[in-house]
């Protein structure tokens, strides 16, 4: 009898404990579910963000400028399309009323022979403003790569009226302001040999010196002390994943937290603006890193 009383007391205790634990377990399941839903929601939101443009405005001042000039910078499109035939991108650029459009490389994919996305885009942009183009690694691979499509992109761009720069500079007048526009395609190891002379003569020129290159790393390896007014670049895709503190996480060339990942940087003589780019290449999605269209307003200081 005493044994039976003990057992029933234990049962009661167990039941009370079970009742006490039940809400806690339910809460845990609910929390896990909420976390999963939240994670999925964030992932979908972040990925869907990859098709919506973000326009970033930068202000640069210079004594060489008489009348304000607006430059639109496009980089790393990688054959991506915003709307049918890039209608959204073209409309956005048109609404910005640029005076000069520059493309800092990787607008195509090295292994994709389809260049019509870019040539058609250039055709439309040329109706708004002159277009200057400097090659990135993907254009090089597309034109020359062994076993690649070997498509003469530059010939097609020239036909359209785009000015392609290959380690050389040209003089141009933008809204009455004298501009010296230089494009650098050389990599760091061959920079001196390939572009050294051209950079030296570029530095000596008087107009507003705009330096285009695809690779931001050139600015800390070779171009840090070069005398230019404004330099632009792309390539790092903003570090592909943008951390909450704004830092870019990774690029295959530079590893974690690449330098000059995106944004505005003051160098010895001039200002460098690095774009996060408009598209992506490969399977890694851009996370918290919307495609960026850069607008640089240069006004008189």
């Amino acid at each position: 009898m005493a044994k039976g009383t003990v057992i029933s007391a234990m049962d009661e205790e167990y039941a009370v404990e079970k009742k006490r634990r039940r809400p806690r377990k339910f809460l845990l399941v609910l929390l896990i579910l909420a976390a999963v839903v939240l994670a999925f929601g964030i992932a979908i939101w972040m990925l869907s963000d990859n098709d919506t443009l973000e326009t970033t405005f930068y202000q640069v001042t210079s004594g060489k400028i008489q009348e304000a000039v607006r430059i639109v910078l496009l980089t790393d499109l990688h054959n991506h399309e915003f709307g049918r035939a890039n209608r959204d991108l073209v409309n956005e650029i048109e609404s910005l009323e640029p005076d000069l459009i520059v493309m800092a490389g990787d607008m195509v994919n090295g292994n994709d022979a389809n260049i019509t996305i870019v040539t058609d885009l250039c055709g439309k942009l040329l109706e708004m403003a002159p277009v200057y183009y400097v090659f990135g690694n993907n254009e090089g691979a597309l034109e020359y790569g062994d076993g690649g499509p070997q498509v003469a992109l530059d010939a097609e761009l020239w036909k359209k009226g785009v000015t392609v720069l290959y380690n050389n500079s040209i003089s141009a007048e933008i809204k009455g302001n004298p501009f010296e526009i230089m494009g650098v395609t050389a990599a760091e190891d061959e920079f001196e040999k390939v572009a050294g002379d051209a950079i030296s003569s570029f530095e000596k020129k008087d107009g507003f010196k705009l330096l285009l290159t695809h690779f931001p790393s050139l600015y800390y390896d070779c171009l840090a002390d070069v005398n230019f007014d404004l330099g632009v670049a792309g390539h790092f895709h903003g570090g592909q994943i943008r951390l909450p503190d704004g830092r870019g996480l990774f690029h295959v060339d530079e590893g974690f937290f690449p330098r000059y990942c995106y944004g505005e940087f003051s160098l010895t003589h001039g200002t460098l603006i690095v774009s996060r780019g408009l598209g992506g290449h490969g399977h890694l999605p851009r996370i918290n890193n919307r495609p960026e269209l850069v607008v640089i307003d240069i006004s008189r200081s």
Partner: protein, 492 residues
């Protein structure tokens, strides 16, 4: 249209119903006295024969009119395909042939527009059109399915399309289809045309390259055509495909070479500094690739050296070639692949080296040249001559191809509207139906008259009229006589 069809059904069914009724009447009285009943009925028929003939002629007339009205709402065309692949069920370009494309919305809508077929939609036409294969001439073997190369397109108007002329409908649809078929299977020669406005933004050496690529395309095409149509000479241009190939080759080897030599020797460029930069960029990358090729070549040579001799022992395998002949095949071994790779990379390296040497020469010339305006003007004149020459031979090829296609592609498909007068057929058909009707009517009359007692009428020897006039006593008498005669006949 529907009413006429129903009426025609009734007309056709009428003799059948009459025959059926006659059969039922015969059957209902059993087999006894059948012959006598028929004999009696035939005698009665003789009196009705004139009426039967009149009814048969009337029936035939109505049938003829119905047929004619039906024929007026119908039309047909025969479409034949006369290219070798047709009998395999393929289009000339060896894609799958599908005759039902003739009833596609695209074709029907074009037919409606071009044939001015008012107040009708593609769906309306689709309901009235039918396409069926015609099997003619060829035999079908047990293991080979016969694929027709001739199809009949038939049109039969309905309530929505009765306002249209059937011949117009069939002709429009068949003509549009044939034209679209020829268009789809014709050559697209617009690739040979060149937009000369594009050259304005290009530098001279790039223009040479562009002209060379385009001329090579034309030359290759004409050369391939010279095999397909070796003896063909265009009546329009007087050219053969071989003569066009020669003309293009001369353009490339003489005029284009001369222009390039002039540009290079004088170091001419529309924008020398820009073009030099481009050539230098070209050389930078080409040099890297050249070094890569040389390294690949050396690695492969090294691999060949290291290859174990014992592994390279040749093994011969008995094999059979495509013609079924026996031969000894030597197996490929690793060293063969190394040798192939080494050779390929060396060829590629040599090609790149030549390209770099050419660029270097052009760079030197352009950097030292003064860009004399007289020379620029001469280059522009030469360029104009190149444009004219290119236009001439590209047009020659286009015209010659068009001429050739006229003789081949246009014959791929033929169309013939069936405009034969159906009057004879209709008359014959109506006459046959009238005969069937007359026969059916005769049978029915025989069957109907067989219902009276045949014996009484035969014994009395009087007519039906007399029998009807006879009183009840007469009938009894006649019955008695009849019985006796029946018994006698039965005995016999």
């Amino acid at each position: 249209m529907e009413n006429i069809r129903y009426f025609e059904y009734i007309l056709v069914a009428l003799p059948a119903v009459m025959l059926l009724c006659a059969l039922i009447l015969f059957m209902s009285r059993g087999k006894e006295n059948l012959l006598r009943r028929i004999r009696n009925g035939t005698r009665t028929l003789k009196r009705w024969i004139i009426l039967v003939l009149i009814l048969a002629v009337a029936y035939g007339g109505i049938n003829f009119k119905t047929e004619q009205m039906q024929a007026e709402m119908r039309a047909a065309a025969i479409i034949g395909f006369n290219y070798p692949e047709a009998s395999s069920g393929l289009n000339p370009n060896r894609t799958r042939f599908n005759i039902s494309e003739i009833l596609s919305d695209e074709i029907l809508e074009k037919a409606i527009t071009e044939g001015n077929l008012d107040h009708v939609s593609a769906d309306d036409l689709k309901r009235c059109l039918q396409v069926t294969p015609l099997k003619a001439g060829e035999s079908i073997s047990t293991n080979q399915v016969y694929i027709s190369t001739e199809y009949q397109l038939t049109y039969e108007a309905d309530q929505n399309t009765k306002h249209l002329d059937p011949d117009d409908v069939v002709t429009s649809v068949a003509e549009v289809y044939c034209r679209e078929f020829v268009d789809a299977n014709s050559r697209k020669t617009n690739a040979f045309a060149m937009d000369f406005s594009e050259l304005e933004n290009m530098d001279y050496l790039d223009i040479v390259e562009l002209f060379d690529e385009k001329a090579e395309d034309i030359s290759d095409y004409a050369y391939a055509m010279s095999f397909e149509a070796a003896t063909f000479q265009s009546e329009t241009t007087g050219e053969t495909f071989s003569s066009i190939t020669e003309k293009v080759q001369t353009f490339r080897d003489v005029q284009l070479e001369r222009f390039q030599a002039f540009i290079l020797s004088n170091g001419l460029a529309k924008n020398a500094s820009q073009y030099v930069a481009k050539l230098k960029y070209d050389n930078t990358i080409t040099h890297k690739l050249y070094l890569k090729n040389v390294a690949t070549h050396n690695i492969n040579l090294d691999a060949i050296d290291r290859y174990d001799r014992d592994m390279a022992t040749i093994v011969l395998i008995p094999s059979v070639d495509v013609d079924g002949y026996f031969y000894m095949s030597r197996t490929k071994i690793g060293v063969d692949y190394f040798a192939e790779n080494a050779e390929e990379s060396m060829q590629s390296a040599s090609k790149r080296q030549r390209s770099m040497q050419f660029n270097d020469y052009a760079i030197t010339q352009m950097q030292t040249a003064d860009q004399v305006s007289a020379q620029i003007a001469q280059a522009e004149d030469m360029l104009e001559a190149l444009k004219n020459e290119y236009q001439v031979f590209s047009q020659l090829l286009v015209d010659t191809l068009a001429d050739y296609d006229k003789k081949t592609v246009n014959n791929y498909v033929s169309m013939m509207v069936d405009d034969s007068d159906p009057l004879k057929t209709e008359i014959v058909k109506s006459a046959i139906f009238a005969i069937i009707f007359a026969v059916a009517l005769c049978v029915l009359i025989i069957a109907l008259n067989g219902r009276n007692d045949p014996v009484s009428s035969s014994v009395s020897g009087g007519s039906q009229k007399e029998k009807r006039n006879a009183g009840p006593g007469d009938v009894q008498r006649e019955t008695g006589n009849g019985d006796g005669e029946t018994a006698e006949e039965d005995k016999r």
